[in-house]
């Protein structure tokens, strides 16, 4: 359930310093309110993040959880920075626009999601297409299991990603895809439950980017379901993520084995 400001602040005009103090007090008990947070609010913080971007390095390592990430997403989500100014800034940092293409393409994804949100707002919470998993939507649970919410699934890397989400309000995009795929395909939970969970916790959560990305993973807005295996997690994460086979058994399979296990109603792929 969303935690909101205490009712004692329910007067019409508000002092922002009081709001901030009340919100800091409302942070989860396990968060050190005095510790620097990965992304502070405000235009000044946004400009510092923008000045630090390296579009060339981003293109080379964006899929790795321990390499270059821009952390611009909460500033874009809340219009503190515009897509136009971030793109222009990226272009000014490279000799040839193609060097910034991967970075700009990620900005384009956000523009794409927003265009869908405006043109088809009904797609944000409804399946755009049917699941291509061999299951009907009615065969998926509508609620997140308690062990997922409490980061005690017993799958070590998944529990670490859930803990990161809860403790920092931020996850690398690749970790978001792993978690979404685990929830929808391993636990057979409807994507809407996971999307609402992410919206609640992510500082940069945007209904369009978030929910349509969950649909992309689920296959209700893509040609096939997105899945991953432990080798993929090990390839893209650093040493701080536990990728030992013994601690992640349900992920320690080939893609063929996982497809048969997770989607038994589908015909095996050939060729």
């Amino acid at each position: 359930m969303t935690k909101c400001l205490p009712k004692t602040l329910s007067v019409s005009e508000m002092a922002v310093s009081d709001m901030i103090a009340a919100l800091v007090a409302a942070l989860p008990a396990d968060v050190d309110a005095a510790a620097p947070r990965p992304m502070a609010g405000g235009r000044k913080a946004a400009e510092r993040a923008l000045a630090a971007i390296n579009p060339v390095a981003y293109a080379a390592s964006r899929n790795h959880l321990d390499r270059a990430v821009t952390r611009l997403s909460p500033y874009l989500r809340h219009g503190i920075l515009s897509l136009d100014e971030v793109r222009n800034h990226a272009l000014a940092k490279v000799a040839d626009p193609r060097q910034a293409e991967k970075f700009i393409q990620e900005l384009a994804w956000r523009d794409y999601w927003q265009r869908i949100y405006l043109a088809h707002p009904d797609r944000i919470w409804n399946d755009v297409e049917v699941y291509k998993t061999g299951f009907d939507a009615s065969e998926y649970d509508t609620e997140l299991p308690a062990d997922v919410v409490e980061a005690r699934t017993g799958v070590a890397c998944i529990d670490q990603f859930i803990a990161m989400l809860h403790e920092t309000g931020y996850l690398h995009n690749h970790a978001r895809m792993y978690l979404a795929a685990y929830v929808v395909h391993w636990r057979r939970v409807r994507w809407q439950a996971g999307a609402a969970w992410f919206l609640e916790h992510l500082i940069d959560a945007d209904p369009a980017s978030n929910n349509l990305s969950w649909q992309w993973v689920a296959s209700t807005f893509s040609k096939k379901p997105y899945i991953f295996n432990l080798d993929n997690v090990a390839k893209y994460t650093g040493h701080d993520i536990n990728t030992r086979m013994s601690d992640n058994r349900v992920l320690a399979c080939s893609y063929e084995q996982l497809s048969e296990l997770l989607f038994p109603n589908l015909e095996p792929a050939h060729g």
């Binding site: 935690k3 508000m14 901030i20 942070l27 503190i80 136009d84 793109r87 272009l91």
Partner: protein, 145 residues
């Protein structure tokens, strides 16, 4: 014509074109609308991030239902035009409809942000790469034109 700017949580910057549309010195208001934040699953961390951003913006901040407060604030400020950063959020769009109904004399205008790309035709949104194939050329140019 007197204006009032309603800045919402999707457009928290002073360089948004909504400010250029208004007369210099036009007051800007943010409404801390708990019901809309809760309906949008906005958790405490994101609320804190928004509050920190508001601290730099030097706005009037009001606590309550935007559909109730904004008509009252428009009257209090003597405004006959409410300028709002354009949003795809159905909750905000729905609130604008209710404000128009509450104060028919108040003109309500949504102001678009600077475009990421300007395209001659509406792109096919069925899949990302159909959009990207049309948008790529402009996207790799300054100002997306």
């Amino acid at each position: 014509m007197a204006d009032l700017i309603w800045l919402h949580e999707g457009a928290l910057r002073r360089t948004h074109p909504v400010f250029a549309m208004a007369a210099p010195g036009t007051p800007a208001i943010f409404v801390w609308d708990r019901a809309r934040l809760a309906a949008g699953h906005v958790g405490v961390r994101r609320q804190l991030f928004i509050a920190e951003t508001l601290a730099e913006l030097e706005l009037e901040i009001h606590d309550g239902d935007a559909t109730v407060l904004l008509p009252q604030l428009a009257v209090a400020h003597g405004a006959d035009r409410l300028l709002v950063p354009a949003s795809p959020d159905p909750a905000i769009i729905g609130q604008l409809v209710m404000i128009r109904q509450a104060v028919p004399a108040l003109t309500v205008e949504q102001v678009a942000d600077t475009a990421f790309v300007t395209l001659s035709q509406e792109p096919d949104l069925a899949r990302f790469f159909r959009y990207w194939n049309k948008a790529r050329k402009a996207a790799l140019r300054p100002h997306g034109v």
